[in-house]
Symmetry: C7
Subunit: 263 residues, 7 copies
């Protein structure tokens, strides 16, 4: 029997220089339901499929506001996500109390990256078993970041993590060039279409299982910048978006539409 | 012989991204006798089967008041439950001393979730071997939460944990739509009926082995809100409820009844 | 050869959710000689068989006073019992110094339960290898508690732990209904009879090997409550009780007798 | 090959509830040369065979004074005994400085018992590999205690530990009834006779290899109590006692004799 | 099966005096994309191939400014690099606050070397899985250092680390003599040519995947020294350099050119 | 293959009550070159064979002065000896600063014994791999002690430790009775003769490889005591002694001689 | 397969009393390039072959000044050497600040010996994998010490450590008698000749790969002592020495020469 002697803790390198426990933690991310994020020049959106493991429960939340300008989508161990989420909230709060303004999204992401790295280099801990997409706006505009259990963080234009997320990523890659110029509504529709690619055969996007998170900036006519704080939309609030990407409307979404006011 | 090399502590991921020790701890929950919780728009109730492993003992308590507005039902290792219960009592007390009002139920549940998560990510500890249903009322109304050994917490409309709890859950799922509108008495009866589904063949609900816990809010005629603090009912106090769900009365319980004053 | 991979420490769950080291610690309790406890409405008594492993030693003590209102009977590792006993004495002393009254028995029992639970959830310690029966009186009357190595504590009406204690428990179960109304003397005799059931074939209760511990409350004629502090009786002090349950007197003990002043 | 999976540290119970490392430590006691202790109503004596592993060394000491009223005999790891002995000296000194009187022997013995128990319940330590007989006098008269590596301590009337000590114990059991009334000299002779039983075939008690330790109390004619502090006798000081138990005098020792002034 | 018993942690020497875990960490460096550094008498340059593991991401950064006078190129675990990078930034900042001038590059490199060595000599940590090229200018001129996971640091004239870096090193060795006299532009072109040697068959240097970092000093006509702070060039900023080393221009780059103002 | 499961650390007893790691440490003592010590009524001497593993080194020191009244001879790990030696020097210095007089030799030896015992009872340390002979004079006269890795210390009249020391011990045993009365010179000669017994076939005592250490007391004619501080003699200083025990003089040394002024 | 159960950490003795991890660390020293040291009555010199593992690097330094009066040559893990080197620099600095004079070389060497010993007796650390030659001058003249990973330190007249150092040692042994009287230049030439013995077949001493370090004292004509601080010579500064030991000059070097002013 093959016996891997190097995969029992995160402080042991394999002879090839790999740290298997970190790679296994990445597998935990793939157990979570898929989440998608896309950033344009004006908005960053997160869309997610909520699961309800038990019919009796509310659907499990996948999107969480962190601060008024930033939110996260999670895939993997929910309990681990809570730890990181609480940490991010405290950092944002502390930053605003100290500096009087929102923490830049990249700084925030760097902090959880550093925090997570510690767990990959000290015996007796384990890597966080959760991946995040972090979406937010700051002085340099909208941003989307991916966070991995390794502590690796990377700015992305669009991305998807979680179960069957490869299909969503394929959609995103195909439409990558279009995203930068997309408006708010259009961006959400792209996100939902990507999400649909990752659905298993007989599942549909519904108002119960779909969450949308949006943060954005828009220039007012007088040239000033108007920030749309990060907000999560659930239930009936996502109905119009879901209908707009229903199969009979496919194709139309990629075009600019009149209702896309933020575009 | 199959040998699992990844299931000896909670800081090791399996190649599939699972943490077996956390899953095994969840098995300990299934060793406990069944508890059921249901929340309506006005009440949150917990019902439980008490076991007495030894005839000589009192029946083991399954329901515990935590604070005046919240209580828990436990399934699994009683000693672990006590640790969490003491922790919750202290948090509630501290919150009231600091802020002059009851701790929101979700905040309380988040705290034990975070506390439990720590034991899943540090070597030398083990996950708590107990599951909880937390029922309470706060400014946003009645709530029911499930707590798992992983530190996962989730708001539920109705749920059951413990031995043979699947049968109770099936009952709850079938009647899920009715719960929101149920009054106090009706909710208890639904709980007891769910409980009966999980009883082994020849056991019955009795005044000795049945516990009921109730917290609720009701609007007085003048529009003010009246809170019914969390209280555990045992012995003769549960007799009427038990009789009302005796088999010859089956069917009737699902209908609103005059005695259901809180409905 | 069967190899149990989950029974080497108390921070590892088995795939079935069991913690074997805690169960093995419970086996240590069964190595101790039997102790019996019974509580009535007015008294709590402990009776025990003392062993002398070496003829040259005094008999090993089995009953220990903790505070003026509470005492314990032990079965298992005597050295572990001393640790718990010292802890209890300090808690009782501290409580009286702080509050000016005896610590409620349940509070005291909860404290050793919590203390023992810690040893079942931290690597590098082991569960206490001793079981206790705790008997005492407080403002709510007489109480009998069982303490297990798991940290589990439970109020009992009557119980027996230690070697061959099942036979004693069977006697106790048969006579359970009678205990509540028993007076002091009658309660002791029930305890001794239960003890006799657990004796090996050719052993007898003697003044050398039998210990009796009693705490009680009685109402004086003026309605005031008179407390009988916990006291351990050995040697000639237990002679009358032993003779009263000698085989030729069997049957008579179950009846109320004139000498039973506390009844 | 039989493989014991539960005997590598003192924080692991075997499935039968045993802690093998504690039992193995008890084996270390059996490696030490035999020591005997006897207590009467007026005296407590320790007698010991000294070994000299190397002819070039002095004989290894077996008896050590702890305080003016108490001394110990050791069997097992001498280095471990020194740790306990130093601890006991400090405790006695501290007690006298604080309270102005000698520490009761039982209190002293309880303290080393508690100290030793810690080493049986924490990973990374090991039980003390030494057994002690503690002899002393305090306000309640002469006392003899046995201390075991488990932390178990027990008051004894007479006892022997160390290599081949069973033979000495058999002698002590046979003569147990006589000890309480024995005087100082008689008690020493009983001790030496017990010691002789444990000697290997061709060894003899000599002034080189025999140690005697005595503490006692005697009532003066005016009713006051006179304490004989614990003192160790070696060399020519033990000659008379050795000669008095030489084989040709056997039998006579058991009788009271005129020279037994303290009787 | 060959079983290496000495390669599970960095505190165990093999019988040949090797520390395998440190060697395995060095393998992680080889997983990173190639980076090249060259120092002349006036400049130190870093050039790197950026990878984008996911098409959706920006290209992963390979060059990072540390302080105004120094920057790094990384190959290996990005999360580990961030830890070292943050540490270096803090050291540089602290040095300038304390001494009012830039930290000498060698001192900075010594500090990360010492920091990294600790992880190779303490159980429970692991070596950093990243290699660095550190380029900077200080009072003694331009410098290039290599940092290895072992904590080994070494000043180099030119070097390349990462995947397929051997090919780049071969180019550098061949042209080693020319570097000292190279000007800024020429040095960059040498770096890019070395980089091209390490490219896999069908990849090309592009403005998307190529980064250049430069620090330098130049003597002004009045004899004063002008420092060019470390700066990273990406995108269109590197276009001219890339075109200048396109295959049809090969050969010309080695000659001094008029546009090489810093030469 | 025989596999000893109990010999990997010093906190594990074997089923026979042995601690193998302590016994293995004692083997390290046997790797050291032989040292011999003898005490008379007036002097304590240490003699040693120095090794030079490398011809290029000075001979390795075997005798070390600790304080003006005491010195040690070492056999085993020199690095471990330095730790103990430094500790002893500090203790002696501290004692003299505090009490204004030399530390009694036995107290000093007890301190290293206690220090060494700690390493035999705590996981993560190892016993000291060195044996010592400690020679000194204090108010009670000359003393010789042996220190073993177990922490065991014992006063000896004469002793030898290290490689092939059994032969030296045999010589010492044969002449044991003569030592007490020996004078300074005679005692040294006995030591050297014992040393010669342990030499391998073709080695000789030389001024290069022989060390002698002496401490002593002598009564002046006016009855006052004159102390000869501990001093190590090497090189030409030991020549006369070596010649006096050359083979052709054998036999004479055992007789008292006129030059033995201290006798 | 032979399986050594005692060589995984430095706190485990083998049954023969060996500590294998310390021996394996000594193997790491043999991986380093050879260094040679010689001390005369007036000078202490270190000579070393520098390696450049990579042609692109400068040659790796082998000689390091520690303080004005002392320097070291290293063989083994360079990162470990840096730790010891930094420690020595701090000790020397601290000593001079405290006492106003240079630390004696032996004291300095004792300190790293003690520091290194700690790593051989505590679990979770590893021995330093580097050997040192320490050369310096202090009030007692020039000194040369060897430091081994075991913490063992020894004063040497001449020594060589590192790869193929046995050949150098053979040269040194042959010429040992001549060193004491050698002057500065002669001593360096002896060192270089020894070094050449250890070179692999086709390598030569060159100005690139050879380092020389010298410290010395000389008596001025007025009897005062003039100290030559420790200085490392590289490059053209060593050219004359290298030429003086070129093969065609062999033989001459051993003779005193006029240019040897310090002789």
């Amino acid at each position: 029997m093959f016996r891997n002697n190097y995969d029992n803790d995160s402080v042991t390198f394999s002879p090839q220089g790999r740290i298997f426990q970190v790679e296994y933690a990445a597998e935990a991310v793939k157990q979570g339901s898929v989440v998608v994020g896309i950033a344009s020049k004006t908005h960053a959106v997160l869309v997610a499929i909520k699961r309800n493991a038990e019919e009796l429960s509310s659907y499990q939340k996948k999107l969480f506001p962190i601060d008024e300008h930033v939110g996260i989508a999670i895939a993997g161990l929910t309990s681990d996500a809570r730890v990181l989420s609480n940490f991010m909230k405290q950092q944002c709060l502390g930053h605003r109390l100290t500096y009087g303004r929102n923490m830049p999204v990249r700084s925030l992401v760097d902090m959880i990256g550093s925090k997570a790295q510690v767990n990959t280099q000290h015996y007796g801990k384990r890597p966080y078993g959760v991946g995040l997409l972090v979406a937010g706006v700051d002085e340099s505009g909208p941003h989307l970041f991916e966070f991995q259990p390794s502590g690796m963080t990377e700015e992305m234009q669009a991305f998807a993590i979680g179960a069957r997320s490869q299909m969503a990523r394929t959609y995103l890659e195909k439409n990558l060039d279009a995203f930068a110029a997309c408006g708010r509504e259009e961006l959400v529709r792209h996100g939902l279409k990507a999400l649909k690619e990752s659905l298993v055969q007989d599942r549909e996007l519904t108002v119960e299982n779909t969450s949308v998170g949006i943060a954005g900036v828009s220039k007012a006519e007088d040239g000033s910048t108007k920030v749309e704080p990060f907000k999560v939309f659930d239930g009936q609030d996502v109905n119009a978006w879901i209908e707009s990407v229903a199969d009979n409307k496919e194709g139309g979404a990629a075009e600019g539409e009149g209702m896309d006011v933020d575009g």
